[in-house]
Each structure stands twice: as C-alpha cells, then as structure tokens.
C-alpha cells in the first residue's frame, strides 16, 4: 500500500496523528512557514516505524509534536488515547515518563558523568535504592557496549559514544514510546550495525512503539516495519520496506537510490544562476 491513504490498523494505534498541520509562530505570533500539512500517522505497540524525507521536510517537528514540545495549528496527536496537546503540565509530564527520546547530538548533561547521565531519569522518577540504580545503569550501559565507560565525562567520549550513552538514558525507564532522531548519524559501521540491531531488539523487548527519524535508507529498511516518506510537510508515500523498495514513485526511487536528479531538489529556490552572477543578457 503506497500512497497517502493511511492504513486502518487492526488494533488501536499507540501513537496517532490525524490531519496535523503545523507552522512555527513568528515574532508577532502569526503562523510562519508551513512545516506540516494534514499529516496522518499511526504507530502500534511493538512496531518500528521510520520517518524519511529530505532535510527540512518536517521529520523532527513530528517528534517535537509527539513530545508535546510544540502544538499543532490543526489536527490531533494522541498517545495511548490521550490528546497530547489537551493535557495539563502534570499530565504531560506523566505521559513523558512513558517516552524515551534519543536526540540527534545526544544532549548529554555535560556536568555529569556517563553513569550519572543514565541514572538521571531513574533518580528523578523512582525511589529505587542506590545499589538497584547502579545495577540498572550498568545493565543499560552494557546493552550499548559502554559499561566500561561509566566513569567518563561526556567531554572524554566521542560523538558516536555519546549517542549510545544517550540511547541508554532514553531507555532507562523502559519507555512505551521511543523516538530516535537521526540515531545513525556519525556512527562507524560497527556501531551503526549494533545500534540498528539494538533499536530493533529494544522495541521488541519493551513492546514499545518506536519511531526513527533517519536519512540512512539502507540500514533503516532492514530493521523497520513501516516507512512514512515526507516531502514539504506532507506524507507522500508509505508502506512496508518491501513495498518501498518496489515502489515506482519517482520521489521514493530517488531517495532510496540517492540519485541527484529527480523530484527532490538539491538547490534551494533561487534566481537564475547566470543572473545572480551578473552574466545574464
């Protein structure tokens, strides 16, 4: 099933976006450039969904909407049946305790060690004794291969390692919804492969709904259950990895093949090149 008519899942989706439109407000409070227009999206528990599309297509904004960081101008975002943007602060925070988010650059707390970063959500939201927290943190760090780095500070580890620590932190509370913003960017091939498998197995082990924003088409199509393609704030294609690979849509083909020519423009809209250089007659 490949085009914008959204699927009707057999079971209730854990995450649902219906007709969501969003524009970041300008200084005057008026809506600015339209980022998302009428986006429909469903993710079930245990499902791993990829959001793909060119830079500026609105992928990360979808994660911000799901986390309740920004509110849509139109449409509805629900998680486990709760309208995210109708919740009060306390209710939103209660919902966020069931979410984990991996930020593009890790967003580790630079004044805390690797251990303390992963322990942070446990210490903030549980009454577990320190020995139990220590064991849990070491287990999470072991899962990302960084148990031995627990005493290091974020400034002492590489960008790829920081991303893996952030992944351990994101899953510290065993979330039901895990969001990954560009989890593969900057990882070496070994870490990339391990991280991809980890994302796959984490979602299955926790029966969590997982959403992954990525440009890494090849790696993602091997691990995800479903793909949404975004272009200029709209979902232009969707389907299983096999359907995506078999797609004849020029947009999908260009993206999957990484072809320079196609419907996705490389250049930002601009006047004629010759005119800009003063060479036009």
């Amino acid at each position: 099933m490949l085009m914008s008519d959204s699927s009707t899942p057999a079971e209730q989706p854990f995450v649902a976006m219906q007709g969501v439109s969003f524009a970041y407000p300008t200084l005057t409070g008026a809506p600015g450039r339209q980022i998302l227009s009428g986006v429909d999206l469903n993710v079930k528990r245990g499902q791993l969904v990829a959001l793909m599309g060119g830079s500026g297509s609105g992928k990360t904004t979808i994660l911000r909407l799901l986390g309740g960081q920004v509110a849509p101008q139109a449409g509805r975002v629900t998680i486990d049946g709760q309208n995210v943007h109708a919740l009060k602060q306390r209710e939103l925070f209660a919902l966020r305790r069931r979410m984990g988010m991996l930020f593009q650059f890790g967003a580790l707390f630079t004044d805390m060690s690797v251990f303390d970063n992963v322990a942070f959500p446990l210490q903030e939201h549980t009454d577990l004794p320190q020995p139990a927290i220590r064991d849990l943190v070491l287990m999470k760090l072991n899962a990302v291969g960084l148990r031995g780095a627990h005493a290091l500070m974020p400034s002492e580890i590489s960008g790829g390692m920081a991303r893996r620590v952030a992944l351990a932190r994101a899953i510290a509370l065993d979330p039901q919804l895990i969001m990954y913003d560009e989890p593969f960017a900057g990882l070496d091939p070994i870490s990339l492969s391990i991280t991809a498998n980890l994302i796959r197995s984490l979602g299955a082990a926790l029966n969590a709904a997982s959403i992954i924003v990525t440009h890494d088409v090849a790696e993602s199509l091997q691990i995800v259950d479903y793909v949404y393609f975004l272009a200029e704030g709209k979902i232009v294609a969707q389907g299983t990895p096999d359907e995506i690979r078999a797609s004849t849509m020029p947009y999908v083909q260009q993206f999957v093949a990484g072809a320079p020519d196609g419907p996705v423009r490389f250049h930002y809209p601009a006047p004629e090149y010759a005119a800009d250089l003063g060479l036009a007659k």
């Binding site: 960081q69 209660a94 305790r97 930020f103 650059f105 967003a107 707390f109 630079t110 959500p121 903030e124």
Partner: protein
Amino acid sequence: MKKFAEGIGHGVIDSIAKLGYFARLFVLTLRQSGTAFARLRLTIAQIHFIGNYSLIIIVVSGLFVGFVLGLQGYNTLQRYGSEQALGLLVALSLVRELGPVVTALLFAGRAGTSITAEIGLMKAGEQLTAMEMMAVSPVARVLAPRFWAGVVSMPLLAAMFSAVGIFGGYVVGVVMIGVDEGAFWSQMQNGMDWMDDVGNGVIKSIVFGIAVTFISVFEGYDSQPTPEGVSRATTRTVVSSSLAVLALDFILTALMFTNG
C-alpha cells in the same frame, strides 16, 4: 518612514513581551523552588560553585577598597582633625554602601556570567529540552537551585567584602599611618547601629542577590541557542545586572536612610 515606525513598534512589543516573560518566569521559579529546598545538595553544590569560587575576587577587591578608603578617609578627616573617626568612616562606607554594591557588581561579572553561559549552553546543546522530555522541569532542576544559591551567597560575600575591607582600612590607617587603634575600633563600635547600618546593608545585598541572580538565570534561559546568542546573553547579564544594582541601590538608600 513606515518601516522605521514598524521597527519601533516591534521593539516596544518585544520589550513588553520580554518583561512579561521575565515576570512569569520569576513567579514560576518561586513556585517550583520546592526541589531546590527538598534536595538541598543541588543548591549547596551551586552555592559552592557560585559563592566559593567568587571568594578570591571578593576578598582581594575588598582588601584594596579598604586600603583606598583608609587612605582617602585619613586625608579628608585629618583636615578637620577627625582622623580618630577613620574606623567609623571605613565601616559605614563598606557596610551601608560599598559592600553590598561592589559585591553585587563583582558577582554579576564573576558568577552571573557563568550562570548565564552555563544555562545558555545547556539550552544550545538541547540539554534543557532533553530534561523536559524526561519529564523533569528545567525551572525546578536547573534555574531554582542556581537562583537560591545566588540569593544565599550574595549577603555572605558582601559580609566577607566588608570585613576584609575594614581590615584593609585598619592596615592602612592604624598600622601604616598610625591612627590610634583604640579610637579606630571604639568609634566604629559606638557609631554603628546594628539594624540601621548592618541590617539595611544585609537587606540591600539580599535584594541585589535576587536581582542579579534572577537576571543571570533568565538571560541564560531566554538566550538564542547559538554561540552568538549565548555571547549576547552573557553581555546582557552584566549590563542589566549592573544597571539594576545601581538603580535598586538608589531606591533602597532613599527608603532606608532618608530622615523623616
């Protein structure tokens, strides 16, 4: 002309909006201060960072201000044969005025800038967003402990400044120039009022602590999450804090020390 008017209008609207945000964040910080008190180690760590690390600059500055007061005071007082009142002059100048004001200005430059830069860089690195996504309020976890640490540290630092300054005045006046030691201390003891002088000085430094520390945390929290944005916010902290301290000092002095 129209663009010029629009520019002024935008500027006014932005300033009012920022002032409103400043007030709302101040109330929110007070309301979410429970964490800062319930988990005292967070606030104590900040008192150590903000207060303890400011000690050297405060002590050295206090000592030199005391030296200068000793010299200038002696030169002026001896014209009238009142050099015995040097201790009183040094103590009153420091406790009422220079202690709270100079400490607040130094505090804005030393600790205020570091608070703004730290919070601004946390924002630029998405650490505050990450904290929110982990259902932890950055206002309660980051802003409130730093705010209260500043409020607690400021009077203590001002007291240190005044004490060291008085010692500096003693060194210059008594040890170097030869003013009578007994007169130096007894004039100070007799001429100073516990509430009017010391109490008002403490009140001043608490008010300055609230103003400087909150401006610092606000500017960091409100900064643009870019290197340039953090740099501008840090500059605004020093400028706004200094002006606020001087303006508040005038208002407080008028309220406290105007007779009748």
